[in-house]
């Protein structure tokens, strides 16, 4: 039996909600076949089957909150069945094995066994099993035991080794066993190493209890005050890299809730529940709330309002469309480019405050998060390195990210490392807001509705222009109002004089 447990799939999550159950008891599943869909604070992910086999039991139902480490589905591995057959195929061993099971139950000799030692992270296995694993080039710590108290059995090792992912496609316990030379120890010292290596990376971080990281990375984590146990390594072997620490530091990307959203879970809840006034406060909604409170009660927020004449940007957009219909770029992409230029001129808003070390860290990359409204609430995918992207590239990436957000397909990488956030609520309406900063960033800008407005020019001439309100919230610990005005002035300058964007393009 293999218990498929909820693993920490990133950023120190502790629980997840079951969104969908994709298999039924009795169903055959192959390795990596999705079993359930879960939603964590930030992401939706599928829990794949670590083994090929038959679904024995599903421990949760849709809507359940499952804690990390708890079993979600039990799958009887194909290896188990095969090994049983193998046992009965060999009369001498078969006899004894058959009766051993009964004996074991009778005598209760396994009572003294210690269960899986979660403290050390070591799996239980007798030395002989460990030797087989070593000879087969399998890391036994990656194997889920099916023996008494979760002990890894020889059969588990052979089944794991026969795992298609390991590159020994379609090999059964028996064939691997015979290929390995013999189950009889001492006879097969050589030649065993030919058996393939399993893909260790994918499983490593989920099964191992001990974080793997180099001393330098550990030092970095200590400097940041980050617990390595909370971080998922991304180097393919589950090892934690420096980037993982900084990504973790950047924090989950959730920003202010401007728009009332009704999540799918709420809808379904309302349909089922007779008392429609109760909305479950869970999942992303709760994560947003947590993040908002953290930001609001940590950062002294100040919001500064202004208005921008976007007529010329709209004109540029229209003329571009005429030149090449393919280059139909949304104005938001121009805003983001303009923001990058403004941030370069007033870098204090592309920064993070490291209170512990008493440092304001000016970020060298311009990673602009875009608040996206989804069924389940607000989420902030990040356009990375805007300084290296053209307006058109910004536009393309923005579209892709928003699409992924709507489809709940964002990955941890998509929503990490932001340095500044924008919230484009203009298309929906609104004239002003007091956005909450996407902690631990320092500032955020909301774009409101663009409307035709009579504008009095310097020569007292009244003209009709497209005007958009902006709300710019900043961390008053890091900067003061004057800086914020400076910053918005730069932004307005670029938007009102689109040619400057051309001149300043790097």
């Amino acid at each position: 039996m293999t218990e498929v447990k909820l693993n920490d799939i990133g950023e120190g999550m502790t629980e997840a909600e079951i969104m969908q159950i994709l298999v039924e008891p009795g169903a055959s599943v192959s390795v990596d076949e999705p079993l359930v869909e879960i939603q964590t604070d930030k992401l939706t992910a599928e829990l794949p089957s670590p083994v090929a086999g038959v679904v024995e039991k599903i421990h949760a139902k849709v809507g359940d909150i499952v804690q990390v480490g708890n079993a979600v589905v039990t799958v009887s591995a194909a290896g188990e069945t095969i090994s049983e057959e193998h046992k009965t195929a060999q009369p001498s061993e078969g006899n004894s094995m058959g009766s051993r099971t009964n004996e074991s139950a009778e005598s209760g000799v396994n009572d003294e066994l210690m269960p899986f030692n979660s403290k050390t992270g070591h799996v239980l296995a007798v030395p002989h099993t460990r030797k087989i694993a070593r000879d087969l080039g399998v890391d036994i710590e990656h194997i889920q035991g099916t023996g008494p108290s979760g002990r890894v059995t020889e059969e588990d090792v052979y089944a794991f080794s026969a795992h298609p992912k390991s590159g020994v496609d379609n090999k059964t316990y028996e064939s691997v066993r015979s290929e390995a030379g013999s189950a009889e120890p001492g006879l097969a010292e050589s030649g065993l190493s030919q058996a393939s290596q399993p893909e260790s990376g994918a499983l490593a971080s989920s099964v191992r209890g001990i974080a793997s990281a180099s001393p330098a990375v550990r030092k970095l984590a200590r400097e940041y005050g980050v617990d390595l146990a909370d971080i998922r390594g991304s180097d393919g072997l589950g090892r934690i890299r420096a980037e993982d620490i900084t990504a973790h530091q950047a924090g989950p990307a959730v920003t202010q809730s401007i728009v009332q959203t009704i999540s799918a879970e709420v809808k379904s809840q309302e349909a089922k529940s007779s008392d429609a006034r109760e909305i479950p406060f869970r999942g992303r909604r709760r994560a947003i709330a947590k993040k908002m409170s953290q930001s609001m009660f940590t950062i002294p927020h100040v919001t500064h309002f202004d208005e921008v004449d976007v007529t010329d940007i709209f004109a540029v957009k229209e003329s571009l469309k005429k030149v090449d219909p393919e280059k139909n770029v949304s104005v938001a992409a121009f805003y983001i480019k303009a923001l990058q230029f403004a941030l370069q001129e007033v870098p204090i808003f592309n920064a993070k405050l490291d209170e512990e070390n008493e440092v304001i860290r000016l970020e060298q990359e311009y990673n602009i998060g875009i608040a996206a409204d989804t069924e389940d609430g607000l989420i902030v995918p990040v356009i990375k390195n805007v300084e290296k992207l053209s307006v058109f590239q910004i536009h393309t990436q923005m579209k892709q990210l928003i699409k992924k957000a709507k489809e709940n397909r964002l990955t941890a990488a998509d929503i990490s490392d932001g340095t500044f956030t924008v919230s484009n609520v203009g298309p929906m309406g609104s004239t002003g807001a007091t956005p909450i900063i996407n902690y631990p960033e320092c500032a955020l800008m909301a774009f409101h509705k663009t409307k035709k407005t009579p504008v009095v020019r310097d020569n007292d001439e009244i003209v009709i222009r497209q005007v958009m309100n902006i709300s710019m919230t900043f961390d008053h610990r890091v900067a003061d109002g004057a800086k914020a005005v400076q910053f918005t002035n730069h932004f307005i300058k670029y938007i009102e004089n689109p040619n400057l964007l051309l001149v300043d393009l790097g």
Binding site: S92, N95, S96, S99, R100, E103, S104, S107, V109, N110, V126, P127, H128, T129, R130, K131, R134, P148, E154, E184, P185, G186
Partner: protein
Amino acid sequence: MAISARVETRQMTLVQAVTDALRTMLRERDDVLLLGEDIGKNGGVFRATDGLMDEFGEERVMDTPLAESGIIGSAIGMAINGFRPVAEIQFLGFIYPGLNQIMTHATRMRSRSLGRYSVPMVIRAPYGGGVRAPEIHSDSMEALFTHMPGIKVVVPSTPYDAKGLLISAIEDPDPVLFLEPLRSYRAGRGDVPEGKYSIELGQAATLKEGNDVSIFAWGAMIPKALKAAEKIEQEQGITCDVIDLRTLYPLDKDAISASVQKTGRAVIVHEAQSTGGVSGDIMSVINDTSFLYLRSPIERVTGYDMPVPMFSLEDEYLPNEDRIRHAIKKSVNF
């Protein structure tokens, strides 16, 4: 061309085989002497030296006072001076007054004299329980001696081995403690070749072959281990290697590791107390040579950590077939 050899054998008990070995060596070598309490006229408490004084005379088969220290000390003196004395201690439990002689002189003479002198003597002592003997008569204190560097500890379990091993012990250039399981003295008979033959010390014997568990035992535990192994094979199809270690110091590490590496499991049976028992050394050999082959923890079936009790409770103290079978099952079902 077929080669055939005819060996004359006689059915003997273990104690008769001991006598036969002594007689053979007394005949073979003039330097062999026997000494001990009542071994002469009386033929020894278990009749192990019966008739030898008549045959070889008082100068070669000597009755001594009831003083173990004196017996062993005298033997040491004779050994250093060119004899090959065989001293009898009536029961192993009586040897304690002689421990000082063994530890201080017999075991370290070779080392002390930088190899100039050796002590080619044998101490024979019946040991072990199961015969309803009074207090101290049933002790199984072999581990006291395996812990003494410089003395070999040999325990036969069959008449054949008793003769062959005793002859080797007498011919050994260093002191040998030869422990005779008194329960096995007259428990059965076996074919014993006439004349001189020897069994190399330090070599274990595989009495039964199997694939699931290795059982290590010696002396009077061997018949029990064999019976338990046969029974469990009939009942459950579990097959056992039954290995008679025969020499407890030095242990046959090769035999131990070869068997454990074959079966992956081990059960050690001895009637001595568990703590500090020879089983600990066997476990250490397994650990050193065969750790990676283990499929289950090593099991021990031993006496309890207490003096061997009075005879009414003796059967509770001694390992029996059921306890051995339980240990085998536990080992296999782990």
